[in-house]
Amino acid sequence: MKKYLLLLLMLTSVSSLFAGGQKEISVVTDNSKQLNIYCYDSFASEWGPGPTLVADFTEKTGIEVKLIAPGDAVTILSKVIMEKKNPRGDLLIGPDNNLLDRTLAEDILVPYDAPALADIPAELKFDETNHLLPFDWGYFAICYDSEQIENPPSSLEDLTKAEYTKSLVLMDPRTSSPGMGFLLWTRAVYGDDYLDYWKRLKGSVLSVTESWSNGYGLFTSGEAPLVLSYSTSPVYHKMWEETERYKALAFEEGNYLQIEGVGIIKGAANPEAARKFLDYMLSPEGQEVIATSNIMMPVNPYTNLPEAFNMAFISENPLLLDKEDIGENQMSWVQNWVEESGL
């Protein structure tokens, strides 16, 4: 019998150690004066911009901040929608231009005419009602591995060529925002004939992955020389790995824009602090933190950027679909893609 008692003793001591650790956490969550920010998980992660932004902000203003990140941008949005009647957050970070219509339709944000908006280029202000303010941006782009491909494609149409058979990794538009971005990209270029393009493209596709991270993992482990990602992806490899092996391609038809937004939640307990944090995010200082850890372009043109950002191209032909068009037709575009693309 002794060994059972010993085992039990060991287990309980381990769990009490752990219970002791949990108390500290609940003390922090009880603070009602703090600013509660909903953001997607990679924003809040140790390696994302969240922790540094929060530390600097708290040091400047004395306002305590809690980052709440139960998933990706869509998950956060659905959480805020679920809590509409009894909001627990003050600030929502994450909905991009493709989620704009859904976000506005749910009436979960209040407008804020931030002073910094004066500096931000007009084409990035994607919500003229100022419910959702831009904080970073980039293009969806096809990236290639220069050690595997010598003649990279220069257009969407090039991608369908036989020389790229089983060479391209894409993402599912239902589960990943680059995947949705690419679907809208083909929609923006080919209009109602977009499915014909997908049928031509099919032979070049090695895999359609669930998430960007799975797909990009395939690419960096050498499985495929072409991947759907962002115009800014090479910046990361330059900054942290000092390699220019991976490059992003500006396409002749243009590249589809992604603008990520932030907004103040309707019924927020702490709107004043939320406005302050939003101002800080849009300041050159905050923008530098966001750009270098999110690896996206800053919206504020006065931001200091490391040289590595030269690796990201600027498209001469940025593409963007009308937000009402997206809101109305997105579902049926995706469903038709699922049933007819054959992927």
Partner: protein
């Protein structure tokens, strides 16, 4: 045989379990599934009619069954020789081998996928080795991104379950029937078909039902390794509808259909199993490795070799990769701790060591608590189910086993909805995560415990009673030691499931709680694939350590 221990009515004794499951499982799931029958505040079949009217969803339904059936058959075939080996033979390194078979279970799917790609991929280890041997270019084995990849990954995940459950079952019945058949001159094949297989059938069915359900609800494997949306299952569609399209009506209706199917399967299986209760409790004497015939030795070695290749290949590749780095783009890879260092000091300036320590502490704490809770609830439940008379035994057991028919995604979303409604709103995420893990792991623990409990001979308990041992004493001194193999394998599963669980954890953690799989996910999400390999290596080592510890406790008595 009339037992003097008697079979008391068990409904009342089952009540605590029922209340626990009602709060942690039925209520949250029901709240979610009900949405599938409601639109604009009224009850309706609108969503269900739409689903069944759609050719797309009918295809999804058929494919779900088809791939689960095929995966189950393959996993059983792959696990059967191992089940024999582990229950009949003592061989050097057996304990380590047993610990190894649990590894696939604890790995977060995202890491398994990475391992599969590095090992089986077009540029993976297998292809490079083969290309070197055959002096050829290009991929030689092209398994990934296809239906084959789904089956391969399902076998990787599930044949260890088959192996363990079959071994546990096989250990429990006597050799004498086989010996009798042998004395009568029956051939080996005939003995296997007429004696062993019928004896094994309940164990096989037990394993098959688990694996079928597991593959039926398989998620990341289908999503990632299949290579495209044409291989879609109900589970994946539920997830997409609820999580991404925010289409709760259709998503809940599909989840409802899926749940009805799994409830039916679970109930059907348990009814079958209850007809096949063994009352023998003989612990098999094992043959020593040196006493095996040469042909048996060769077969065993071949099998062990294949298992090592399939299980260890992807895992070792992840581990080796975590220690490799290229100093410059053209140089060959060298051994280095770079990725571990980067994990410990992320560029953001926040102390990585603290985060890593917290992730490890959280994962261990949650997994240990889950282990204790599931073993206590599991042992109690299997005792009530095996020693009491219930009016509807099949139904009761099915209701208790139901959590295995519901996905962690649905469970997590159900919890969120429940906690949104005031009463449960202030529950700390840690407790909801522990509850979710316990609910998810409990069926696995019961699967290991109940057959063992049922095999205990009632006359043994009667004898103890005659000698004056009370119920509690009988439980401690007879039943507990006899179900110990079940406790150990069930406990190991519970611990492993909790360590590797990520879907419900991610939904419930609100970023306030970082576990090891969540940290791995974040590393991958921020381009740090090699650091992810490094943290994955740490997770694998923790698990091996835990399993060795658990097994060491098992060994004390012998």
């Amino acid at each position: 045989m009339k037992s003097s221990t008697g079979l008391k009515r068990g409904e009342l004794r089952l009540l605590p379990v029922v209340i626990f499951l009602f709060l942690t499982f039925y209520l949250p799931v029901a709240i979610l599934l009900m949405r599938g029958l409601r639109a604009d505040g009224n009850w309706t079949f609108q969503w269900l009619r739409e689903l069944f009217g759609s050719g797309y969803y009918r295809r999804v339904f058929l494919f779900t069954f088809y791939q689960a059936l095929l995966s189950t058959i393959l996993s059983l075939i792959a696990g059967l020789p191992g089940g024999w080996l582990f229950s009949h033979v003592d061989f050097p390194g057996k304990r380590v081998a047993k610990a190894l078979t649990t590894i696939p279970f604890i790995l977060p799917s995202i890491l398994v996928v990475l391992g599969f790609i590095l090992f089986w991929g077009r540029q993976g280890v297998v292809n490079r080795v083969l290309a070197g041997l055959m002096n050829k270019e290009a991929p030689i084995v092209d398994v990934l991104y296809s239906f084959k990849a789904i089956l391969l990954a399902h076998v990787f995940y599930n044949f260890p379950i088959a192996l363990r459950l079959i071994a546990a079952w096989w250990e429990g019945f006597p050799e004498n029937q086989v010996e009798a058949a042998r004395t009568l001159g029956a051939s080996r094949l005939k003995i296997f078909l007429t004696v062993t297989l019928p004896q094994l059938l309940p164990g096989l069915l037990s394993a098959a039902s688990l694996i079928f359900l597991y593959c039926f609800m398989s998620f990341a494997v289908i999503l990632v390794l299949g290579g495209g949306p044409r291989f879609s299952t109900m589970e994946v569609e539920v997830y997409r509808l609820i999580k991404y399209s925010l289409d709760f009506g259709r998503g809940a209706a599909l989840a409802l259909t899926e749940t009805v199917a799994t409830l039916f399967l679970t109930f059907f299986y348990i009814r079958k199993e209850q007809k096949n209760v063994y009352t023998n409790s003989v612990f098999r004497k094992k043959t020593a490795w040196r006493d095996l015939e040469p042909s048996q030795k060769a077969g065993a070695l071949l099998y062990i070799g294949l298992v090592l290749l399939v299980i260890l290949g992807p895992i070792l590749t992840v581990m080796v990769q975590s220690f490799l780095t290229r100093p410059s783009r053209t140089a060959t890879a060298i051994w280095s701790l770079r990725w571990y260092r980067e994990m410990l000091s992320p560029p953001g300036g926040v102390s990585g060591t603290a985060i890593l320590a917290e992730a490890v502490r959280n994962s261990l704490g949650i997994a240990t608590t889950t282990l204790i809770l599931t073993l206590i609830i599991g042992a109690y439940t299997s005792w009530v189910l095996s020693r009491h008379k219930l009016k509807y035994p099949g139904l009761s057991e099915s209701l208790i086993m139901m959590p295995m028919g519901v996905s962690s995604v649905v469970l997590g979303i159900g919890y969120l909805w429940l906690m949104r409604n005031g009463t449960f709103g202030n529950i700390h995420p840690v407790f909801s995560i522990i509850c979710a893990h316990t609910v998810i792991a409990l069926p696995f623990v019961l699967r290991s415990l109940t057959p063992a409990m049922r095999r205990i001979r009632l006359d043994l308990l009667d004898a103890a009673k005659l000698m004056g041992a009370g119920g509690f004493k009988r439980f401690i001194s007879i039943e507990l030691p006899l179900i110990r193999p079940g406790l150990i394998s069930g406990g190991a599963f519970a611990f492993a499931i909790s360590l590797g669980e990520i879907n419900a954890t991610l939904i419930l953690s609100d970023a306030g709680i970082t576990t090891i799989p969540i940290a791995i996910l974040r590393l991958i999400g921020t381009y740090k694939f090699f650091s992810a390999c490094a943290l994955g290596t740490i997770l694998i080592l923790i698990c091996l350590l835990a399993f060795t510890l658990i097994d060491a406790f098992d060994g004390w008595e012998n």
